[in-house]
Symmetry: none
Subunit: 209 residues, 4 copies
DNA sequence: TATGAATGAGCTTTCATTCAT
DNA sequence: CATGAATGAAAGCTCATTCAT
């Protein structure tokens, strides 16, 4: 295993502000450089702590990654679960709720979403196994949302599942672009909202608008 | 830039057999370990050449990657272009043609497909920029094929675009499984064909079978 | 110097139970891993105290080592001095007395003997100089005992000095074996006694038995 | 295991001069500082090679140690075996032959003897297991020599075995003193010879002188 | 052209020691 | 007195790249 229970305990006994500084440092560097190229040097600089401390809490670079991954997957899925409506049948309003919930998370942990995607750069089997159970946490919540959608509310020329996927890919695309220059939850959210509004206007049957 | 014209010339003056040994070594190691974790040591061992020779032809690890990427993208897209029918309107027969063409390519370069996907593990902007123009080569050919499909030939409950994407994901899934244990173009092809046959029987309108 | 008088005073003002817990922790880890590889982390864990406290009392790892070394050498030599007979002329009965005295010491400080031998793993000149005057304490007591032995009590085929050395090496050999699995003063003592009884029966002239 | 066959092969393909430079660098640093405190940095500086090369040939610090240990034990025992007389019955002449043989070895590898003793500073079980079979090589040769000694040639007050051990301890003592300041095979040999001559004159029966 | 020994900067990791609480 | 989080220098080791042959 890459990390263990005792690490968690020690970590969560720190001041919340420092916890977040370390988590954000970890997420940022892994998000930007991918797992392998991310250096512990850069992480501790970003977090504003010493090299030793990173290893005091996480034992290894892999341990830090796994810890942050579990934390991020849990945090983001809980954030979504808590804030989305569980009865919303309108695709665009549901998606908007999702993006609003993400927005709150990204205000606190700007690199969280991108960091979660960095798992694709990981080739170390140890790590992949360690985070396996958390990889579906966020997708599962989104799945739940989509199951409650009434696609009958869409216009005839709209294909629900396709629209959903499209939204997903667009989201990802915007994220990559946004991240390319600078991390900004506000800009990201604004882009998504603009896109959803545009789509909603075009694909929702008039009576449901 | 990661590599230049003179490299190409020198490389293609080697005996064909050695060219392919080097290309396969490069593809294999990058495909298995991702860009960063792939070591030049492993590559030259897999290719059966010396370390010096790799750098003689490609100047750097990044150069080897870019060269192999361009080669692979060009080779696979040409292979597809050449062998697929440009008038096939039946989704399943078209996909079958695609897979047959891939099969021929994978007989020669078993790791080519997986190698092309390894671009997702690359974080180095230099490399991403260098291969940018080749990333769409294969997807574009597939796009062309799909544009000629007559989705009217599918049963009512079949959703063409979804089916297409499903096929893509299934293809990728089978590939990952196949690669997990051993590289085998035959096994891979057999799996895909079985899947397509099954789907065709279920989703094509009787009059088009 | 590695440690000074004020350390002693402070240390001996602690509750006796805690003193021994710290001493045993120090002895155990140095005995098992040798000087260099012994980590302060392991020592404080074994002693059940905090890292800070170790340095509060001993200032440095080297200081802890030297303090424990002086303590052990003094303690064991006094223990021997106190319990052995100063008139015993019989080799085997004398050695038995020595082992009985050691037994009492090892009940309290199981790793003391092995710890004293760990000086062989020390390469730091500072430490070697600091403990120089204590290295002969225990050997000197044994020397004293041996000087009073009447080797005439041994059978003709017995060689006194050789027997003595043999006993020393056997003692050390048994100790290493005992320590290999678990620390146990009782088992250790039983082995030694059995060995001495066997030897006494074979090498003592009948009239002295 | 700490090292393997392929390492040996590669190493012995180097120029002899460089092999010896590396071996002497390894022996020197381990001999002086003991296993743990010896740094690879110091070793490569002493050997006049780069850090990478050390790991190219030996894979790890432990590997370098084990390799040099096997080499030293084999080399010294062969050197002794080859040069000592196998029929010499006189203790002092036999010991003198041994020291002359050692002298030749130490001219080439000045730290070899001290290096072999550094095994006592090793606490890593992996290493101890790896060199286990070589630890007795040199002692066994000396054992063989001693078995042919005719102790009847000694004066009545001389105790053969004790003399032998004494010689061994004196040898070791002189070595430690010699090494303390500077490594010098000549000075070492001169000391030993002087000691042996003195002892021979005192303890050999006149008719055997 | 072809080799692989050689390099050294830079990586991850360790650990004795300090210090705010 | 007691804690353990925090430090950072230094360790062991990796690996893309160079170069003499």
């Amino acid at each position: 295993m890459c990390y263990n229970q005792s690490m968690n305990e020690r970590f969560f006994e720190m001041k919340k502000e420092k916890q977040d500084r370390m988590l954000n440092g970890i997420m940022k560097i892994f998000a930007i450089h991918g797992y392998q190229k991310a250096s512990t040097e850069d992480i501790v600089k970003a977090a504003g702590v010493s090299k030793g401390l990173l290893f005091h809490y996480f034992e290894s670079k892999a341990g830090a990654y796994c810890f942050a991954y579990e934390y991020s997957a849990r945090f983001l899925s809980m954030q979504l679960e808590k804030n989305i409506s569980h009865t919303e049948a309108d695709l665009f309003r549901a998606m908007r709720k999702v993006e609003d919930a993400k927005y709150v998370a990204l205000k606190k942990y700007p690199y969280m979403q991108k960091f979660l995607l960095s798992i694709e750069t990981v080739t170390d089997m140890e790590i992949l196994k360690a985070v396996e159970e958390y990889r579906d946490l966020v997708p599962n919540v989104l799945q739940d949302v989509l199951q409650r959608i009434d696609y009958g509310r869409l216009t005839d020329d709209a294909n629900g599942p396709v629209l959903t996927r499209t939204i997903e890919y667009i989201t990802r695309g915007i994220m990559d672009c946004t991240l390319a220059d600078r991390m900004d939850a506000d800009g990201f959210h604004a882009e998504i909202v603009a896109f959803l509004d545009m789509m909603a206007a075009k694909f929702t049957r008039p009576e449901y608008l």
